[in-house]
Symmetry: C2
Subunit: 152 residues, 2 copies
């Protein structure tokens, strides 16, 4: 947590960008959440810090450029989450078509399977893969059982 902040400060200094309360507030929300959030959700959590919506947008775009954050577009909405920062090199999103909930599939082995597969593609196609957006669509466990119980 502290480590993230320190690392972030080095990055922006190296790029001649100034640190501000606002940028740090946005970053902190992302760190604490450690999962995908919409711009609005981020804004709601820090609007007491005297920050304008525009600044939230600007900060997120900056973080994206610096490789700190990542955008995940999903059916009209745009989610943001921390990228790299060591922990999660890749993970998979799952969206339930029935209840519209969006969750992470947080299974190390599965994630590694996907990373391995991405590398296979990289070599086979002669390109360089730096990142991957993987979203599975279907029915979550709960909805699946509920729908099956109704025998339709």
């Amino acid at each position: 947590m502290e480590k993230y902040l320190t690392w972030y400060k080095e990055i922006i200094k190296k790029n001649g960008i100034k640190n501000t309360v606002q940028k740090e507030a946005v970053l902190n929300v992302l760190i604490k959440a450690s999962s995908h959030l919409t711009v609005e959700e981020i804004y709601q959590q820090i609007k007491d810090v005297k920050i304008g919506l525009a600044t939230v947008y600007r900060s997120l775009k900056l973080f994206e450029d610096l490789g700190i954050a990542k955008e995940i577009p999903m059916g009209g909405a745009r989610y943001y989450e921390l990228k790299l920062f060591g922990k999660k090199p890749l993970h998979i999103h799952f969206k339930c078509m029935n209840c519209n909930a969006m969750t992470d599939i947080d299974d190390t082995e599965t994630n590694l399977d996907y990373i391995r597969l991405n590398q296979k593609v990289e070599h086979k196609m002669g390109l360089e893969v730096n990142d991957a957006n993987i979203t599975l669509l279907g029915l979550c466990k709960e909805c699946r059982e509920k729908l099956n119980a109704q025998t339709k």
Copy 2:
């Protein structure tokens, strides 16, 4: 091609929807392109057919509901492409971060690898996977070579 049209007409009849020149025009663009297009790109190709932008949107949404087309969100923009219609049960998109080109990775074996992996997740997590959006980000072959040549 003709087969698609016939199939489509059966589907919409079954749902009590009326066929029109406009809907068919949108569908034809998708069939001919057989790859991802933005709403604007679709509109440009058929605006001579006397069609309004709103109708393109409405048709695409309808096609999505009927399971004919599929939306692929990518960094702010929304792409559409034909779904199912037999041929491609899943395929992977690749976006080059340098030239911004978006291409399909059209390799049967690779696609099958991903489908197998998706099924593995399905069983492991107890959910039902009906569809998947997979987009890889990185450098395409051309840009990779170009950038390497510059030795930076």
